[in-house]
């Protein structure tokens, strides 16, 4: 990674921090949404992009963060910050508890187990009286979108710094070794279970904070929105679209897709979802390694690159 890139990244982050001073309310709330999604995609990147484990259970941590914050604030009248901490602790506990048994599974079986976990959590929370059952909880109203924006931005910066560290550390090398060949990584002395579980816990921290911020901002949580498996699919899509296992790919991927979706939804609302599906299908066919792969090398942005991708993956 060149120094120039890092300086540019820092400059973009600083520039984004000033958006609330100049941007419209629409811009800010689009920003909050895009930043939260970017955090989710970036956290998913830790285990999914580097470790190669496709999780559909990150929305579990999102939900735990959401409910930790919401229950603390509504039932116990605790301040927002305490709520976030409770959410994070819940999510970390959850990640550690389920991580050990579930991370023994590989390939699609891990993916499906996490999907099942999310379904089970949604069903459990819709029966929990403390969580307001399926009716959900109403949080107090705050008119401070700038705070939510800056918090989300700070979270994204923290998450990206963590991923940056991972990409340069022995720890990250270990995760990549697991992705490439888990058995070989084991013989090389990588404690695969430890690496995978810590990756899941790291992801759970950022995901839970994002959930907590979103809960307070939207003032209402219910099981369907907290444990939303399509949200998890969006994390995956944004990460993969941008470039899994890269530092900036997931962030760029989510900003681009958030914008595309927002423009589609505003301009041609009825066909928006349909087109979003088409975009996903085409992206998988023509650029299976994500935007980051194209941007790494200008020469990649040619017809030949896309055809090569198809040649590589078709039957």
């Amino acid at each position: 990674m060149k120094t120039r890139t890092l300086i540019l990244a820092a400059a973009v982050a600083v520039a984004l921090a000033f958006v609330p001073m100049f941007g419209s309310d629409v811009m800010i709330q689009f920003g909050i949404n895009a930043l939260v999604l970017a955090v989710l995609a970036q956290s998913w990147n830790i285990l999914g992009g580097f470790g190669g484990y496709v999780s559909f259970g990150n929305s579990v941590f999102y939900g735990l963060g959401t409910y930790g914050t919401a229950i603390a604030m509504t039932t116990y009248n605790l301040p927002f910050g305490v709520g976030l901490v409770i959410g994070v602790v819940l999510a970390m506990l959850g990640a550690a508890l389920v991580g050990v048994p579930i991370l023994r599974l590989r390939g699609p079986y891990f993916a499906i187990a996490t999907l099942g976990l999310n379904g089970a959590m949604m069903a459990i929370f819709s029966n929990l009286p403390i969580a307001g059952t399926n009716i959900g909880l109403v949080l107090p109203l705050t008119r401070n979108d700038t705070m939510f924006y800056e918090l989300s931005l700070a979270l994204l910066v923290a998450c990206t710094l963590t991923v940056f560290w991972i990409s340069r550390s022995r720890y990250g090398m270990g995760l990549i070794a697991i992705r490439e060949d888990e058995d070989a990584a084991g013989t090389m002395g990588v404690n695969a279970t430890l690496y995978k579980v810590t990756a899941l816990i790291l992801a759970s921290i950022f995901t839970a904070v994002a959930g907590g911020i979103h809960a307070y901002w939207s003032t209402f949580v219910d099981p369907a929105s907290a444990f939303d498996s399509t949200l998890n699919v969006r994390m995956v899509i944004m990460c993969v679209f941008g470039g899994p296992g890269t530092v900036f790919g997931p962030v760029i991927g989510s900003f681009v897709l958030s914008t595309v979706y927002e423009v589609l939804a505003a301009q041609i609302s009825t066909a928006a979802a349909l087109l979003f599906g088409v975009v996903i299908v085409l992206a998988v066919i023509f650029m299976p390694r994500g935007l980051a792969d194209i941007m790494r090398d200008r020469a990649n942005f040619t017809l030949r690159y896309f055809i090569r991708n198809i040649r590589e993956n078709r039957l």
Binding site: S126, R143, S269
Partner: protein, 403 residues
């Protein structure tokens, strides 16, 4: 990597222009904004609001528009499609207020949407008059800017239970089946109290998961309990499944069975055919000529025009949506101003006759209306009871095997 950031910048710029490009507003226009379900899982009901809002706005404009302090304004409508997605609808309401600069808000369909979306209205202190959410959760938060034209969910079964006690023989045992979402839990809670007061026994009390499509376990228990009445609360597609499976499993309550939703819509009768007969239901509204209206003449004419324009019959959702638009016209004219606070106060003091009902809001912002008990008799929807019998009910309902 540098290209990457250049591209992000370009994308951000594109987003900025896309998001801030609001249509230029002419001076003499009052814009109402709404985000409704035009696509997605609840689009089937969302269309009533989309079409009713549009029709009411067109009608009011054709009659001259809104007069404020000697000046005449036309109404404009800015509607977005929330794709049956709550998160999207919240963002669209912010967009409507701060991007499109609409003057006032109309609501989406369904309680869970209204709960989230109305917090945007409250945040910006722009009134939202909505005809799509009736759960107690909407009105118990002390919000000042949310008004609702559907009556409280807890009272939905009040008129039905009152009618039941006047039937011969009066039902004694009841099976209460309700979905577990905000609205239906409110209905069930209220209904339990009402049944207790009426001295009826709840023999089966089951809550089911919203979106459930198989009721065979619940129905088997209902059948075994040999109840006199089934009172059911949920969503239209679930009601459809419930009736079909009642027939498949030969579940015959001794007296009757009633639903909160579905029965008044023509879709429901079309989908079930003869199996829809005998089902009791409720509606706050019937297209009756006695409901006079300043713009449409009366409710019957409204229904006729609506059917001619959109090709399907309106139900209480549509009437309630039209009343939301009318609420604004009355309130703005009375306030003599477009100031959101003044208009808000004028809405709170509303009291007018419309095609929907006599519109008047309680201090918490919600209207209170009696439900009209209806029944499908030989394929036709018949009003049965409000505070007294209007038509003779088909009672007791014959067993499935004897139809």
């Amino acid at each position: 990597m540098k290209r990457a950031f250049a591209m992000t910048g370009a994308v951000a710029l594109l987003a900025a222009t896309a998001l801030t490009a609001a249509p230029a507003l002419a001076e003499d226009v009052i814009t109402l904004g709404a985000s409704v379900q035009m696509t997605g899982a609840t689009a089937n009901t969302g269309r009533y609001y989309r079409d009713a809002y549009q029709m009411a706005v067109d009608k009011i404009n054709a009659a001259g528009g809104v007069k404020v302090g000697g000046k005449t304004y036309k109404l404009a409508l800015k509607m977005l499609d929330n794709q049956s997605n709550v998160n999207l609808s919240v963002r669209q309401y912010v967009q409507l207020i701060s991007g499109d600069k609409v003057n006032f808000l109309l609501g989406p369909f369904a309680s869970n949407f209204v709960i989230s979306d109305s917090s945007v209205a409250e945040k910006y202190q722009i009134p939202m008059v909505q005809g799509g959410g009736s759960s107690g959760q909407i009105f118990s938060r002390g919000y000042k800017y949310v008004f609702g034209t559907l009556p409280p969910a807890g009272n939905y079964y009040a008129s039905t239970i009152e009618m039941m006690s006047k039937l011969n023989p009066a039902p004694k045992t009841v099976a209460l089946v309700a979905a577990d979402d905000s609205f239906d839990v409110s209905v069930a809670k209220g209904t339990r109290k009402l049944l207790e007061k009426a001295g009826m026994k709840i023999a089966v009390d089951q809550e089911y998961r919203e979106g459930n499509s198989d009721f065979s376990s619940i129905l088997t228990q209902v059948k075994a309990a040999k109840v006199d009445t089934v009172l059911w609360s949920g969503h239209e597609t679930e009601a459809l499944n419930f009736i079909r499976q009642m027939k498949q499993l030969n579940v015959d309550p001794n007296g009757m069975y009633a639903f909160t939703v579905g029965v008044p819509t023509s879709d429901f009768r079309k989908a079930l055919g003869a199996d829809a007969n005998y089902a009791f239901g409720m509606t706050t509204w019937l297209p009756d000529a006695s409901l006079k209206d300043k713009w449409f003449g009366d409710a019957a004419q409204f229904a006729k025009e609506y059917k001619a324009k959109f090709g399907y019959d309106p139900d209480y959702h549509a009437a309630s949506g039209a009343a939301d638009v009318e609420t604004y016209v009355y309130a703005i004219e009375k306030a003599g101003s477009l100031d959101p606070k003044k208009v808000r106060d004028a809405i709170a003091a509303s009291n007018f006759q419309s095609l929907y009902a006599q519109v008047k809001y309680a201090p918490n912002g919600q209207i209170d209306l009696p439900q009209i008990v209806v029944q499908i008799q030989k394929g036709e929807l018949k009003p049965i009871y409000t505070t007294q019998f209007i038509n003779k009910p088909d009672y007791p309902v014959p067993a499935w095997s004897k139809r």
